[in-house]
Symmetry: C3
Subunit: 353 residues, 3 copies
């Protein structure tokens, strides 16, 4: 954030129609963004969901991003846009205070003489860039981050502190990789025999498209043969596990703590909630949604929402249901028996089996 945009200028940047409240000043310089409940008179807020409409009437914000339909109900200056949530997202970029890295290689970094680092890239303290690696223009390699032999980091991609990129991986442009993400560790492959495991060396790599975000402590393994592939614009949260030879289609999003097992294919525009498991070798159709902590055990051929698990409740009630779960097959057979008996008893009623 290195600007002093006025409300009028902000409206201009966001393509918003500024409707000033009586007595309000288009030359106000907003100091930041906040929720309708918490924003003060120098802050800009937004109304992105009907759930929050009740906070609009009493907001103390300096201005609010709203749709045309909501503008009349806005007690303060309105920034009228077609999609307030999207406009809010654009505004966050303007008020972001994430430190900007300066180009150049820090004295304590180790860059192999055979690596190719763009003069406009930034290599931070303690970072290591190995032989034949390439770091593009405007890319940032954070403190103590390691870029392995022959790997490439696209233009304007930011690797935060303590990221590890193994050898032979390609990261696109305009990506963000958070701390302690691991790109290109070995997939989990072993041949059993004689009561032991023989390692299957993982000969493939990882390909990550442009505009991908990878969360903290997320692991994307290299392929066994061929590459693990993450499509363009994919967003992956923290502590996600992507196994070898998985393919994730463009613009899909995967929430924290999910895991996709080997050779599974996730379509485009999918949204996978947190804690989901996808077993190996299945494929999931484009635009599929999977709810939290579901285990996907078969391919999903048709877009839709998918779930597994049981509802939660107090442990005592839950335990009663859980005990019965183990008796379900017996219950089903007893139910069938009753139906048969009753069909026999009630012959005259016209019931049949």
């Amino acid at each position: 954030m290195n600007h002093n945009l006025t409300l009028a200028q902000l409206a201009d940047r966001l393509g918003a129609d500024l409707r000033l409240a009586p007595g309000a000043d288009a030359e106000l310089v907003p100091t930041g963004l906040n929720t309708l409940q918490d924003a003060g008179p120098t802050e800009v807020s937004f109304l992105a969901s009907a759930n929050y409409r009740r906070f609009l009437a009493n907001t103390a914000a300096g201005a609010v991003l709203v749709t045309d339909a909501e503008a009349d109900a806005c007690p303060v200056s309105a920034l009228v846009v077609a999609n307030p949530y999207h406009a809010f997202a654009l505004a966050t970029a303007l008020y972001d205070r994430t430190p900007i890295a300066s180009p150049g290689v820090h004295a304590s970094a180790t860059v192999h003489p055979d690596a190719v680092v763009h003069p406009q890239a930034s290599i931070a303290a303690g970072a290591v860039v190995e032989a034949h690696a390439q770091v593009g223009a405007g890319a940032v390699v954070g403190p103590n981050t390691v870029v392995g032999e022959g790997s490439t980091v696209g233009a304007r991609t930011r690797l935060y502190a303590n990221v590890t990129i193994y050898h032979g991986c390609a990261i696109g442009s305009d990506c963000i990789v958070h701390s302690h993400a691991v790109i290109g560790a070995d997939g989990f492959g072993f041949a059993p025999g004689g009561g032991q495991w023989t390692k299957i060396h993982q000969l493939g790599g990882v390909e990550i498209g442009d505009q991908v975000e990878v969360g903290a402590c997320t692991c994307i393994d290299r392929g066994a043969l061929g590459n693990t592939v993450i499509g363009r614009g994919v967003k992956i949260d923290n502590q996600v596990q992507i196994a070898h030879n998985v393919q994730i289609g463009d613009y899909s999003a995967i929430a924290a703590c999910s895991a996709v097992a080997g050779s599974a294919t996730i379509g485009k525009h999918c949204t996978i909630a947190g804690g989901v498991g996808v077993v190996g070798h299945v494929s999931v159709a484009d635009k599929t949604h999977v709810t939290a902590m579901t285990l996907v055990t078969k391919s999903i051929d048709k877009a839709g929402s998918y779930s597994s698990g049981t509802p939660f409740s107090d442990s005592r009630s839950w335990r009663r249901s859980a005990v019965r779960f183990a008796q379900l097959d017996e219950m089903a057979r007893r139910l069938r028996d009753l139906e048969k008996q009753l069909a026999g008893t009630a012959v005259g009623s016209g019931e049949s089996d």
Copy 2:
């Protein structure tokens, strides 16, 4: 551990009443702690649970931490205390061999000239402390750990090796942060539109109270607007995911591999077992307990124990129940039909619907 406490001195430190066994020596210097089963004559043990009482009679320990009620059954010297488990915990501090870090900045560390590092703090090899960061008295920044711009590390807080603290985060005093924990990575926020995701830059930070422990590979994301807040004395195990704007109340404990989604609020003195998921925007009452691998999908208003899931069994039996789970609604309707039929058949019996 840099002492040679005798049994008598140990009793004094722990506030224990030393009742020597016949022939035992109060000047014995215990070499460490061990379980009742494994302790030898120079080791001190403890009886903290009725489950282990059966091991007391045959213990070879030099002395045992016991309650007054158990002291008579102790065949060796007794260290009588009100709460043996708590006394054992205090004793572990005395026999801990975790290396102590020396104050000062290692030659290979990178401390920005605008950072403020207390002369009694320790900055280890390869550590990076960025501009305007502050590190308090007695704090330890481990090898290759990174403290981001403007972040603060309280007095006596220990960050082990390879920790990452992003910019603008505040860690209290007397905390322990284990290796590869990530404090302050971006929350997972994107506005959908046009089949793509627009990043919502995460403008908030993270605030961690005093006496907090954060496990290895645990991630605590920065807030979207406002901070993610971890209360005083909270204990978080390994590989836990705390999303943006979560609030965890004082003295709650969260076991490994659990995840709390965005804007959820966990009360004080809660205990969350391993592998639990808490969905976003819910709140959990003080003193709530959640059992392992439960998914909390709604707010919990009342203290108690909560669960979800099914019991485990051999896969063949489980599969039979699982198949029936998918038929449950049909089974319920058939059961209702039978009840209706039977009510009809048995009119004379006085049954009614």
Copy 3:
């Protein structure tokens, strides 16, 4: 990969019987390995499962690893072996391009004068080896990896970049530890009292046998008293959590995102699928298999396959079943009532309760 093995030499290395196709040349130098579908004429493939037999007839591979029984159906040169999957695993070692680390200590590494590093070990840029640590012949300590005080790294063991080994841990020979694994962080132990938690300092260590592989971001905690023990030849995938004082028997394999709670014992030759939880203090018999996302809540005394959870389906169908799950106990009682009523109604039919 620094060889130019011909097909004949490869057969020799793998103990395979080379049966050349008409016109094929034993002096061909294969360039690598690939699947039956994707391999080209300079690549070697393998047929390890009946599922892939349909791809054999049309493969364009230069040669295929097959059993004697499949050799006749192979349209190209056959490398006949008893176990093609095992032979493939051996072959991957020959075509692996993982960079080889040169012996010696990088100028930017920090090795404590009291550490013992074998002259044939490799200590990479930014690595830190603390006092009294030992690193064996041919071992590799990757970039920015930290080996704690008094810990040992066996011969030929490779620690990739950004690994953390705490103090007092022993890693065997011929192990692989992937990036951001954490060996020896504190187990999660606290004594409750007065509404607070008193830390139980974790006085034990970690012992890891020979030929163990530890995945990226996996955590193996140190013991509270005594050690956490990982047996010989154990393979652990990414993001696995092994708590304090767990014991894992020789040659067991644990897939990603699983967690084993404190003091649990896993037998030998077990296979634990992904996302599994094992509660504390239980023991699991040798050769047990646990399916994905199961929670093991009791000891398993007998080898076999074990499961929990529910099948996944579209969310609407799932919701219907889930609602009924909470009514299961009531349904079971209603079923019982019907059986009793029917036994009463149908006296003449000879049914009895």
